[in-house]
Symmetry: C2
Subunit: 108 residues, 2 copies
């Protein structure tokens, strides 16, 4: 099971989001991902590890290269978290509105 909270923690860093966005361009090596970014290759490597542990990235080893790509399970987990949060927010709003209405009736 992939934790949405882990994914949120992972995406809470701006540089890591840049790395994550570059994963959309398909299977890329660490070097390719690091090029164009302002941080060193080891930094990118560490960010990729966090993304992988959070279920947001997958690796495929090809010779000495490691090709990273997006793991859609992390995105699905995030979407689920967001949907659930949205639902609970709406029901809470509805209940609050009903309480307000009841209070109105009592005071009238």
């Amino acid at each position: 099971m992939i934790s949405a909270e882990r994914a949120l923690d992972a995406l809470g860093d701006p540089t890591r989001r840049l790395v994550f966005k570059r994963l959309r361009e398909g299977n890329r090596s660490v070097q390719e991902i690091a090029d164009g970014l302002k941080v060193s290759r080891p930094a990118v490597s560490q960010h990729l590890r966090v993304l992988k542990d959070a279920g947001l990235a997958v690796v495929r080893i090809e010779g000495t290269r490691r090709l990273y790509a997006i793991d859609t399970r992390g995105l699905e987990s995030l979407r689920g978290w967001l949907d659930g949060f949205w639902d609970k927010t709406l029901t809470a709003f509805k209940q609050a509105a009903e309480r307000e209405a009841a209070k109105e009736r009592r005071s009238r």
Copy 2:
């Protein structure tokens, strides 16, 4: 305009997520939110400021109390970011698959 990146930064902290979740219970004062959490009231106050700046919370002043609630605009921004990311990921996947297919045809 509300930035989804700001929202992601804000939700990248576990304690802040706890504060955010408590906002679903309706209009709550800072003291009420802090009760049940393991951090002090000023800490909660700072978290609320970050959430507010990120478009995830709104305040309503009532006497000496400030009632915080969820700002749905932040959630909508997040959802938009996630949907856009999902779309671009899929199209990138599709393009990659087409490139793979073209390579297959060439090698045959």
